[in-house]
Symmetry: C2
Subunit: 347 residues, 2 copies
Amino acid sequence: MSRPRPLVPRSDPADSVRVVGEFGVIARVLARAGTAAAAEVGPGDDAAVVRAADGRVVVTTDVLVEGRHFRRDWSTAEDIGHKAAAANLADVAAMGATTTALVVGLACPPDTPTSWLEGIASGLAAECAPMGAAVVGGDTVASSPDSTGVVLSVTALGDLGGRAPVRRSGARAGQVVALAGKLGWSAAGLAVLRRGFTSPHSVVAAHRRPTPPYAAGPAAADVRASAMCDVSDGLVADAGHLARDSGVVLDLDSAALAQACLEPVGPLQQVGSALGVDPMAWVLTGGEDHALLATFPPNAVLPYGWSVIGSVRAPGRREPGVRVDGKPAADVLQAVGAERPGHVHFG
Amino acid sequence: MSRPRPLVPRSDPADSVRVVGEFGVIARVLARAGTAAAAEVGPGDDAAVVRAADGRVVVTTDVLVEGRHFRRDWSTAEDIGHKAAAANLADVAAMGATTTALVVGLACPPDTPTSWLEGIASGLAAECAPMGAAVVGGDTVASSPDSTGVVLSVTALGDLGGRAPVRRSGARAGQVVALAGKLGWSAAGLAVLRRGFTSPHSVVAAHRRPTPPYAAGPAAADVRASAMCDVSDGLVADAGHLARDSGVVLDLDSAALAQACLEPVGPLQQVGSALGVDPMAWVLTGGEDHALLATFPPNAVLPYGWSVIGSVRAPGRREPGVRVDGKPAADVLQAVGAERPGHVHFG
């Protein structure tokens, strides 16, 4: 593990948003924004106009707060842009849709370097570009006089391409539970950064720029996934929401989960060993990798990237929720030393 | 003028968002959210799904920061919800569209009263309800550890109903400039509040809850308005953006403007007289009433609510921009004692 290099931008008063001014900032940021294939009217007017050929539009929003969701000394501006976009693109994918456009709200102190905002714009653009999406509008304002932190609010629009939206409430007993994407990598990367290290690179990179399996969402919808969500708060927490919304028990198979998430032996075991953490704790409770969790009819042929990790059962006399190998999730979390099923807001 | 009553909510630790928790807050807020007529999937899933029968969707976002855009001792939570919605609904109207749905991002200190957030939700819902729109999704997070202020980010989706979007760039020489809605009332209300007063009620209410002429936007599009924007930063500032985007001069007629905005004699003159301010300064530079400014072909029959306030001219040897009675806007602003053409961000 190596010590971090400082990532905080050099403070150049002439580069501050106060000096550059709102319209200068907007011009410099828009130069990085790219172009959305679906935009009929892009940035610079009262509102943008985005094509929605499907006749419906998917919409989701996420707010990232400096000091809570990112730190400027742990992530570059580009990283934060990537991460903010990823959180939204994953939510759109979890409905079975593809992102077409973003709008961005930003509250920042007047001494924020404009170059840092350009980095945010570059990261947002780079994360969206592979699917033809881009930022089509935004609002940049000065943050509260007493605040030194940036608040970044991203809203994504998505297109279902004729698919039925996949909700959280459609899981039924007898179906299979499946996962696409990584679990625990971002949490392990955060644990590494918290100890003051920046390697192994793979988990730190996963924390800075998650790589959600966007295409797996529409692919799951195409084979009639019955329920789907993204894992942003932690597997046990988010599976719990899906289970309760569907009125079922999701029984996760720890061996299948380990096979999906911990084989071949990789950085989670390496970091776990170095930090004295059972890597299964990160798999069960780590958020922000934005894996997708879905349920499928038992006879479904799962698309590329999906692995079965459990089964859907009727709750019977039990409350709907998550079990692991038939046991209450809380017992298993305790056994692996995890304190909580997932991220707690306002904690 | 009467002295203000305190509007800050009584602090009840048991009501704080930290104690109520994210999901408790969401449940209580959603109970106030209303239902969007166009929502196919509403709040509570990874994303919402909103019908866009037109095959296009209008999207705009605005960020409101406590201490910059609102104060909790000057405005109730309901007021702030109304105001945040109005800023977005007016942007949608300025494209010629009608709002169908909102999503809301909120960063707030953990000791924020949940009842205050319920008030925000009630205000947002009440402002949207007349057009069948509602909040369909959101994200609520704790603000930066060092911040005591709330950041409220609202994104609106709108439907063009088959109309061509009205952009800022379509004004042409020989056309007329017209206005719908109030100018200067919010600025006069702010001036009153800054002096520690809360009356006259009409201007204070206009500052707390602007009443943009939403229906005037689509109505203008229906008669082929050539360019349109909402007045959020001030008439001279926003007319300047439209003029430059169109490559024209907007020549405002001060007598027509006074007739549209200051007759019959009303509260602007009353407050101006009490505070020693030329009310025309508020008309020319006051934002946040969200009036609509548009240009129309010379033979257009203006819809209800629109008044001619000037004409569009070719710039000739001059730069595109705003003039008043043929004179540079800066001269006129100086004459009425206005310091700036409109709101300066990051100032």
